[in-house]
């Protein structure tokens, strides 16, 4: 047998290429495409939808639905690339609230999602759903997504420790009450009244929303340096900085578990979705945790806010938008499925007429036998509006920078000149956002 002229290695590579090519040719993937393809980033959502799909398919003979779980922010970048290239675009997509705005940057007719405004009004969803929840998915007055949730916020707390310390949660009606008690019971390095970060703005923005503040107004104008933001910063920073701080933050995962178990934090800002995370991450404190409404900014004011969220949208490439709409109705508004989903995830659905199901009144042993659903549902109609913009990521980053600057200042100088410093920081941050907005030729 004559030798291969380019050596045995090249022969082996050639053989391998030929064999793999032959394998791929003989084992072509099936060309049958599903009628509808849905992307979600949340495993819990994906699993719930996979359970709900068979009933939809049964009611729609000949239709097939594929639910794909696409990890984290990959949804956003893959979807953006898919929209641009017009390739591999799914029919329906769930997008996390902080990323939704990034899809609304161009002219309205170029947005990759279908305008659902008319469908929402004609179907009666506008009246059924907590209207504040449409705001993050609205651009220039048009709605591009259906909210998956409301995410009202409560305070979760270590009931056993709080009782032992003689704190009456009924008396914690305002943030001033809360801070006063916090200063009394906080022991730096050992025990803090509440878990609040000083280097990122997720909890700060929840408190900003509570006061009807935010990053943008309804018209998309940047308002992150208005008087509400100044007042929120002046309340928040002394909680996380300076000698009289009452808050700390250690991050997530195992450290969070240990911190709650050890009583390092007594109170936690807890939207409905996080109540489930706490149950899973800190199972050893079952029966010793409880929930209470958020303290108000002033007596009689709002006792909740909102943190997080998800929308579902129909893409422009969808061949059958009516069917996609029906699938959304099935997945997002099926009474029995949602009740079961609430039991699994603790997430309250956005339609008010669904909250009278007995599932929401079930007493939860983990939460000291409180009716978790009813507690959140009571606060849900009052969640504040949060408006979005394509520049929401930039605004959040700038707010975090302003927060860090204010924390540093407060740690060094305390109250002296703090008001002026806060205003200057927020103005600078807002101006950078406005500068970026001014460059956008489409808005």
């Amino acid at each position: 047998m004559s030798k291969f002229p380019y050596g045995n290695s090249a022969l082996a590579m050639l053989g391998l290429a030929a064999a793999s090519g032959a394998y791929l040719t003989l084992n072509r993937p099936s060309k049958a495409k599903p009628t509808l393809r849905l992307w979600t980033f949340a495993k819990t959502h994906g699993e719930a939808y996979q359970q709900a799909v068979p009933a939809f398919v049964k009611a729609h003979p000949g239709v097939s639905v594929e639910v794909q779980i696409v990890a984290g922010e990959a949804v956003t970048s893959r979807l953006q690339a898919a929209f641009w290239a017009d390739l591999d675009v799914p029919d329906l997509v769930e997008v996390e609230i902080s990323w939704a705005g990034s899809f609304f940057r161009g002219p309205l007719e170029s947005i990759g999602f279908l305008d659902l405004t008319e469908r929402i009004h004609q179907s009666g969803l506008w009246e059924r759903v907590v209207q504040a929840r449409f705001a993050p998915y609205t651009s220039r007055g048009r709605i591009f997504g259906i909210p998956h949730d409301v995410h009202p916020v409560m305070l979760a707390y270590r009931r056993d420790l709080v009782e032992r310390l003689g704190i009456d949660v009924e008396q914690l009606r305002t943030w001033d009450d809360f801070i006063e008690v916090g200063r009394r019971i906080t022991q730096p390095g050992k025990r803090y009244m509440i878990e609040l970060p000083d280097t990122e703005s997720s909890r700060f923005e929840a408190l900003l929303f509570q006061r009807d503040g935010g990053y943008f107004d309804e018209q998309g104008q940047c308002i992150m340096d208005n008087e509400i933001a100044v007042e929120t910063m002046k309340m928040y920073v002394p909680m996380v900085a300076g000698r009289s701080r009452i808050a700390s933050d250690l991050g997530g995962g195992q450290i969070f578990t240990r911190a709650v178990e050890d009583g390092y934090f007594l109170f936690l800002i807890t939207p409905d979705w996080r109540s489930r995370t706490i149950e899973q991450d800190v199972p050893r404190v079952a029966g010793r945790m409880a929930l209470m409404p958020l303290p108000a900014v002033a007596p009689g004011k709002r006792r909740t806010t909102t943190w997080g969220g998800t929308m579902i949208g129909i893409t422009r490439r969808c061949q059958n938008p009516d069917l996609a709409w029906e699938l959304i109705m099935h997945l997002y508004f099926n009474r029995e499925d949602l009740a079961q989903r609430f039991r699994d995830t603790n997430i309250l659905p956005p339609a008010r007429d669904l909250w009278d199901h007995p599932a929401y009144y079930e007493k939860r042993p983990y939460w000291s036998h409180q009716p978790l659903g009813a507690l959140y549902a009571k606060l849900a109609p009052d969640v504040p509006f949060q408006y979005t913009s394509p520049y929401i990521s930039l605004a959040k980053a700038k707010m975090s920078e302003a927060l860090i600057g204010c924390v540093r200042y407060y740690n060094t100088y305390g109250e002296r000149g703090f008001d002026g410093y806060v205003r200057k920081q927020l103005e600078q941050s807002a101006e950078e956002v406005r500068r970026a907005i001014r460059r956008n030729p489409y808005l």
């Binding site: 970048s77 953006q80 641009w84 161009g106 002219p107 250690l250 991050g251 860090i404 600057g405 460059r439």
Partner: protein
């Protein structure tokens, strides 16, 4: 010779001559075609894109050099440049000497298990930035993380030191992680360089009465010059392209106070999150040109490149 035969041989000769003329072009054609499609065209296209504000590839508005003007006046861009430069500086200052030290250690005649150590030091480089990022984000956990526990036991550093949440500590954490990941890579190159230095030179130096330090300074280092210059260049280029390590360690973002924002992350955030591919192209071109200048300066300072005299 009959006329017909003469004509045929001329034709054959002419055909052969033509084939010989064309052959080199045919040989280089596959590369040239692929380069034009996947190299030159994207480069030219990205340069053109850098003159537009875009929303994806379809909605484009010509703005001339405004993307560059905006970039140079954006504090975030300068923050990214500063962070990247600091990371590059510390990476080079720590990684190359540490790699040299390890290589000298493994090159010692008394060293046993050389191959095992070589593999052990090199292996972090094989697993990639994402894996290393995930691993170190666990090690850096406050209160219960291994690094804080170790530092607390050794130096009394507070257990709740927040490496990845304190803007002042993010860069040291990134540099430490990168050091662990890349030191083996440098070591392998330097080890190869050490083994290529002529033994006669050491013997000659010994005969001249040179001590160990003098041998290192006058024989080893000059012998490693080309390897060290190569490592300097690729470390600089690699550091300027830093992305995945801070992206993973800081929870897919620039970290507190943008303390982990690098130039490539800035490019990614503008291109793929904000959706302006034109602006991202402007950042990309600025990065490429900046790297070219830095590399030329390094080559000039190390004497590896001398501009031709006029």
């Amino acid at each position: 010779m009959p006329y017909a035969e003469t004509r045929i041989s001329e034709r054959v000769r002419e055909r052969r001559w033509r084939a010989e003329q064309i052959a080199p072009y045919l040989f280089v054609a596959p590369f040239v075609i692929l380069f034009l499609i996947f190299g030159a065209y994207p480069l030219a296209k990205s340069f053109l894109l850098s003159l537009y504000i875009t929303n994806g590839p379809r909605d484009v508005v010509f703005v001339g050099l405004d993307n560059f003007r905006y970039m140079f006046s954006d504090p975030n861009f300068w923050k990214a440049v500063r962070n990247t430069a600091v990371f590059t500086f510390w990476s080079i200052v720590l990684q190359i000497p540490a790699g040299l030290g390890l290589a000298l250690l493994l090159n010692s005649p008394w060293m046993r298990g050389r191959n095992l150590f070589r593999l052990a030091f090199f292996s972090p480089n094989l697993v990639g930035g994402v894996f290393v990022g995930v691993l170190f984000s666990v090690l850096f956990v406050p209160q219960y993380g291994l690094i804080n526990r170790g530092l607390h036991a050794l130096f009394g550093i507070p257990l709740d030191t927040r490496w990845l949440a304190d803007p002042a500590l993010v860069m040291p954490a990134l540099v430490m992680t990168s050091l662990w990941m890349s030191v083996g890579f440098h070591m392998v190159y330097i080890l190869a360089g050490l083994q290529s230095i002529e033994k006669d030179l050491y013997e000659a130096a010994l005969l001249d009465g040179a001590n160990s330090w003098q041998q290192f300074w006058h024989v080893t280092l000059p012998g490693l010059r080309h390897v060290l210059i190569f490592l300097l260049l690729i470390s600089t280029i690699g550091s300027f392209q830093l992305f995945e390590l801070p992206w993973v360690m800081l929870g897919r973002g620039p970290g507190p106070d943008a303390s982990g924002l690098t130039i490539v992350m800035y490019l990614y955030l503008n291109g793929y999150v904000a959706g302006d591919l034109g602006y991202a192209s402007a950042v990309g071109w600025t990065l490429a040109l900046g790297l070219l200048v830095v590399s030329l300066v390094q080559l000039r300072l190390t004497g590896a490149w001398k501009p031709r005299a006029s």
